[in-house]
């Protein structure tokens, strides 16, 4: 029978052992969460974003991390399924207790998870998904926890129209796929044209995203003698469009949103098909000195993952993560304080995209706006700025 004193000693030792063990460390672990799609349709974007995240964290920890403590990253794959995205984000918030979340990749997942982040007061930086409501839904809230470092759909169309105005192209054709995204793209293109006092020479022509022959639609464009085509088409349809243009001998420059900057456009079509196609982007590996440096670093450090295979997704995530870490440095691992700090950052000069040193404000959570994008063009299997 243990004496009372012995019992107390035993309990004290046990308690000390438990408290001192790493799982019960009083210094909270610093965890950054990532809700990415690493499989299922948008995986190229997801894998590239992950690279940007990993590089940013690696550099941050190499410089000492947060007050000497390295941060960890917790990544969950939502397989491009909204329901899984919701589960992942819930887990990041309640179980992993992260201080911030980077993601999503897919707009469909995004529209589902922003409600969870907002309700749980967890700052979330979206570095890929482009649907306008992702920011729009909580833009009017007194404290929105949702931020974005990516060009939203509406803004992307405006860059194409800018290019058209700049080059003085008079006969433009419009075509789009039958999905909701394609239709909203058509709407924004028509709206922007009307505002600019322009009209389309041909279209809007529709196609199904899995159609293999667009000669019917393109022949009408050819009859109308278009000198430029705007198309809202994902990579597979885009390849078929080029092939159909070859069939009917139609050779005009054409542009789409950043769907054409994705590596699977090159993979599916090959260099000759991609040649001359233009796409909206916020970043090309050659558009600035910082970009060139990042491109070289990625090709070296991540050679076994394919190097910088999808520059814009990696670059936007690299910037987005560093913004989150800058906020962390300022106010510590408190999600609510980080949210406020993000709005106040005004000295972020190291961006590789064209964001301003003050990317966010109370009224604006879109870091990349009308002055942060431009048209890029495929030349010989690589992306360059179109001038």
């Amino acid at each position: 029978m243990l004496s009372r004193r012995r019992l107390f000693a035993l309990v004290a030792i046990a308690l000390a052992a438990v408290l001192a063990s790493p799982n019960r460390s009083l210094a909270a672990e610093l965890k950054l969460g990532a809700a990415f799609s690493l499989s299922g349709g948008t995986e190229d974007y997801g894998r590239a974003a992950l690279m940007g995240l990993q590089l940013a964290v690696k550099e941050y920890n190499a410089k000492g991390g947060y007050r000497g403590q390295p941060i960890q990253v917790v990544v969950y794959d939502d397989e491009t399924k909204p329901q899984k995205g919701v589960e992942n984000v819930t887990r990041l918030i309640t179980r992993d207790k992260v201080f911030g979340i980077i993601g999503p990749i897919a707009s469909g997942v995004g529209l589902a998870i922003i409600d969870i982040a907002q309700k749980n007061e967890m700052p979330l930086i979206d570095t890929v998904a482009t649907a306008e409501p992702i920011i729009g839904r909580y833009a009017a809230a007194p404290k929105s926890y949702i931020f974005r470092v990516s060009l939203n759909d509406g803004i992307q169309s405006s860059f194409i129209v800018d290019y058209i105005k700049q080059k003085g192209l008079k006969r433009v054709g419009l075509m789009h796929d039958s999905t909701g995204w394609g239709q909203s793209g058509r709407d924004s293109a028509q709206r922007l044209f009307k505002e600019a006092g322009l009209t389309f020479a041909a279209g809007p022509e529709v196609f199904d995203q899995n159609d293999t022959d667009m000669t019917a639609q393109l022949t009408k464009m050819q009859d109308a003698k278009v000198d430029f085509i705007i198309s809202y088409s994902l990579a597979p349809a885009a390849v078929q469009i080029v092939k159909s243009m070859q069939k009917i001998g139609l050779k005009v420059p054409w542009a789409s949103t950043w769907a054409l900057v994705a590596p699977n456009f090159l993979k599916l079509g090959g260099k000759e098909t991609a040649e001359g196609a233009m796409a909206v982007t916020s970043y090309t590996p050659d558009h600035s000195e910082k970009a060139k440096k990042l491109h070289a670093t990625l090709n070296q450090d991540f050679k076994d993952q394919g190097g910088d295979f999808f520059p814009v997704a990696t670059a936007q995530t690299y910037d987005g993560v560093r913004l989150m870490l800058r906020a962390l440095d300022k106010v510590g691992p408190d999600p609510k304080k980080i949210r406020d700090a993000l709005e106040e950052i005004d000295d972020f000069h190291e961006a590789v995209t064209k964001m301003k040193p003050k990317p966010f404000s109370k009224e604006n959570h879109e870091a990349l706006g009308r002055d942060a994008g431009f048209l890029a063009v495929w030349r010989n299997g690589e992306i360059f700025s179109a001038n």
Partner: protein, 295 residues
């Protein structure tokens, strides 16, 4: 040249190409229907398997195209035998059983799932062994692969018909189709003929797949729509008339492209509306026999 004519001619050429694939797959429906009164609703997925097996052989393993084609056709043919064993035979024991509808649909879903796990859900490029130079037929452009599709698919349909009518094995198969019991009485191995029917039907779908993949991309979900359109082709051609089916397939392909010239967003709906109207006037299809049951 008159621009309207140019548009139409291009649509006709493109339509014949895709239409001949529908005709090829529809032949598969025909063969199993006449021998067992069943249809393989997974025919589209067999097309997909043929395409993806061919893609793996030709693109990933560097096998020469004719051999890759042969492998794709053989693999799908063997899978057809498996299909008959697993999804048809156990189920058609009862004369009035329609469970083969579900079992073939089940096979199609399983195959799709398998394909997504083996090859991923994204489209994959299948470079045409004939290159990408556009050929001109009059004012219409066509890729060499599309020309090959027309020649190969129509040629295969005619070859199959020749086989069924002229060769001993083919005639045995037709005998089973005609009257199962009588065929058994004259010593034809009915079970084996049925197996042959399914093997042939699936091999045709597999051939269609590897022919069309360079045009459409190889893709786990590529078979669904062609499977349905080929079924429509079989029905409007008259399920028991092989030439009708050939015409039916070509017709659907042509209609797709011609309606596309008028209005691309409505073309699918219009095609099937047309099918409905046609069936209202000729229920057994364009060239099907009018079924007269003597009582």
């Amino acid at each position: 040249m008159d621009p309207v004519f140019i548009k139409l001619w291009q649509a006709i050429i493109s339509g014949l190409s895709i239409g001949s694939i529908y005709a090829l797959i529809a032949q598969g429906y025909y063969i199993t229907f006449i021998t067992t009164a069943t249809l393989n609703f997974g025919q589209g997925e067999f097309l997909m398997i043929g395409a993806l097996v061919g893609l793996t052989c030709y693109v990933s393993l560097g096998v020469p195209f004719p051999i890759a084609l042969a492998i794709a056709v053989v693999v799908t043919g063997l899978m057809g035998i498996m299909l008959e064993r697993v999804a048809i035979r156990p189920v058609i024991r009862h004369v009035l059983s329609y469970s083969w509808v579900l079992s073939t649909v089940a096979i199609s879903i399983i195959l799709k799932n398998l394909a997504v796990n083996l090859w991923g859900p994204e489209q994959m490029k299948f470079p045409s062994p004939f290159g990408d130079q556009v050929l001109k037929i009059g004012s219409a452009g066509i890729f060499p692969q599309e020309l090959f599709i027309i020649v190969c698919a129509v040629g295969t349909v005619l070859l199959v018909q020749l086989f069924l009518r002229k060769s001993l094995l083919g005639k045995a198969l037709m005998a089973v189709a005609n009257n199962r019991n009588a065929a058994a009485v004259v010593g034809i191995d009915v079970k084996r003929m049925v197996m042959l029917a399914f093997m042939l039907s699936s091999a045709l779908a597999g051939l269609g797949g590897i022919l069309i993949a360079p045009v459409t991309f190889g893709w786990a979900y590529m078979g669904t729509v062609p499977g349905i359109k080929a079924f429509a082709a079989a029905i409007i051609g008259g399920l028991e008339n092989p030439i009708g089916i050939l015409i039916g397939g070509l017709m659907i392909g042509l209609m797709e492209q011609l309606f596309g010239v008028i209005n691309s967003s409505l073309k699918e709906g219009v095609i099937f509306l047309f099918i409905l109207i046609m069936l209202a006037f000729r229920p057994t299809g364009l060239m099907g026999r009018r079924a007269i049951d003597k009582v």
